[in-house]
Symmetry: C2
Subunit: 326 residues, 2 copies
DNA sequence: AACTATTTTGAATACGTATTCATAATCAAA
DNA sequence: TTTGATTATGAATACGTATTCAAAATAGTT
């Protein structure tokens, strides 16, 4: 179909090998022939065929990015940052949306078929066989903002437990005495860790607390809060496991004319753009997306350079962003 | 590195050709050998190398999806729908985030290098040379929710002008007399068309109107409304070119204690999930994402099957969703 | 059984590139 | 210039698959 290296070689009066050397870089080519080749390539509109290239090198410049939630604006933001960062490095992004809670066999297959250079899983959980599939093929894998009980991965996240603790201390300092934690899906490490840090501190201070199980969604925060209100005891503070649930909390409170931060306080998690919108003005914990992305990319590139399969848990510190809901 | 067809062939006691035939489909293979091969493949964990495949067929199962805005939740939603739809058909998605207003040369190059089967551009604008690059390579292209002045593309969107008209008629019927349109970026077809339909009707009714230029962002809607308020004349209705701007409008109004829908009314566009949140309860125009995606996929697949380069403008009708802001 | 028509299979080849290995060209030093 | 060392180039090959072409096996018919 298209123009190939042989065509360019013919026009430039050199061999195909030389054309390859010009475009691959790192090899020794005379300045004169390089110019000849580049001129010919320009004239013909030649672009190296990435597939043939990958066939030889057994490497691709594609990173697989697996994502589940797009309703939480946090994740599109993450996607964007990854896209920009990898673009700088000449890598493309194969986007895989996984619908179910766990990454599906189909999704893995897609990633393997295209021999991705690395995989980032941002939202979904993954089970054992996934481990094996990627390890067997020496494909570096990063769990972004999620961990499994098993330790054999590299994961990048924020220090959820410390954040939970800090938030508890902050609320106590503000005079809160009894608090409610609204969890995300109960099997996600993020929700569990935030809860643990939060409750640890409350227990140490012998303060009463209660957990309501929800699902990281706006509706979840909203309905849960309505339930809390209907039970009659308004706590002195709500800590929601992410921002959009906190928005649901705030809207439910507003609907019942419960003043924030006077009658009760609300803290979220993520610090998505919307947290700064005047309607919400939400006090929340900032997840340093850029730093987390940078860290992920750094590991990924080093593992692509030379695969070691090393594991680890990197926790990028975040910070409390104080606004008007506390 | 990994397992290849030859390995499977050896284990199954057949030739590589037969393995290929089993996995490519459409060819004639005995049920018995098929089972043997599949068993061997399963045992070894074989997946056909898509790159070698593409080298032969000169086709890929990758669709390039170019997107600019991720702050507007409308687009992540679109991304998700495309991902799911194409996954069903065995296609992967190469996600390209373009930062600038126009799709960049770098982005095009990425798409060409990977020889994508088709390209969908959702948000960004594109200039002439892009046209040529894709046409030359017979790569089908769809403009999703955007059009250019040039007619030589296939575009899928909603009928923005008709929607603008309907919204105007609706507001007039509600008794509004002077209205404000808050535009998106001035060079986007969507914003221009919505405006045109809207103003056409108002002019016909000889009603006063005014346009404020904004940028499709929440901040834009918010600041613009503050400006409108500071000018002293509160219009009887705002029509914002998308929902998140409408949210900005509502928040600005709320801040100034201007009652909606009593003192003024607000209409958005898109009907993103958030429009249904209790804080906003926004009356808006629903863009039928699913239908638009379906239509895009249909065209894409037919052009992949057999490239014709045919152009057209498909407009999927939407509908007014009436909530509490009017 | 004998033959033909059809289906299934294997060997060989092509796709476009990177890379090894050998050869040719260039350079440095005497 | 001669020699030796370095560099630039080309021919050949490999990557993993789809596909053509011929051979083998099977089914169908008499």
């Amino acid at each position: 179909m298209g123009i190939n290296a042989k065509d360019v070689a013919r026009l430039a009066g050199v061999s195909q090998s030389t054309v390859s050397r010009v475009f691959f870089g790192g090899a020794s080519v005379t300045e004169k022939t390089r110019k000849k080749v580049l001129a010919a390539a320009e004239e013909l509109g030649y672009t190296p065929n990435e597939f043939a290239r990958s066939l030889i090198t057994n490497k691709t410049n594609i990173i697989g990015l697996v994502m589940k939630g797009v309703k939480n604006p946090f994740y599109p933001q993450v996607l964007k940052e990854f896209a920009l960062e990898f673009k700088k490095l000449g890598y493309g992004i194969l986007f895989v949306h996984t619908n179910n809670y766990e990454i599906e066999k189909e999704d893995i297959s897609m990633l393997l078929k295209y021999n991705v250079a690395g995989v980032i899983i941002t939202d979904a959980a993954l089970s054992l066989y996934v481990t094996e599939d990627f390890k067997k093929n020496q494909i570096p894998l990063v769990l972004f903002n999620r961990k499994t009980e098993k330790q054999d991965f590299y994961s990048v996240g924020t220090n959820n437990m410390a954040a939970g603790r800090k938030i508890a201390e902050y609320l106590i300092a503000k005079g809160c005495t009894d608090m409610v934690y609204i969890s995300g899906e109960r099997n996600t490490s993020t929700s569990i860790e935030r809860e643990k840090g939060f409750f640890d501190v409350l227990e140490k201070h012998q303060l009463p607390y209660k957990r309501y199980d929800s699902d990281f969604s706006y509706q979840g925060g909203y309905e849960t809060t309505k339930k809390v209100i209907s039970e009659g005891n308004i706590p002195s503070a709500f800590f929601a496991a992410n921002d959009i649930m906190a928005f649901g909390v705030l809207d439910a409170l507003r609907e019942h004319s419960i003043a924030v931060p006077e009658e009760t306080k609300v803290v979220g998690f993520d610090n998505i753009d919307m947290a700064n919108w005047p309607t919400y003005n939400l006090t929340t914990w900032e997840q340093p997306i850029s730093d987390m992305v940078q860290e992920t990319v750094k590991y990924m590139m080093s593992e692509i350079e030379e695969y070691t399969g090393r594991t680890g848990k990197v926790k990028i510190p975040g910070q409390l962003i104080e606004r008007k809901t506390t």
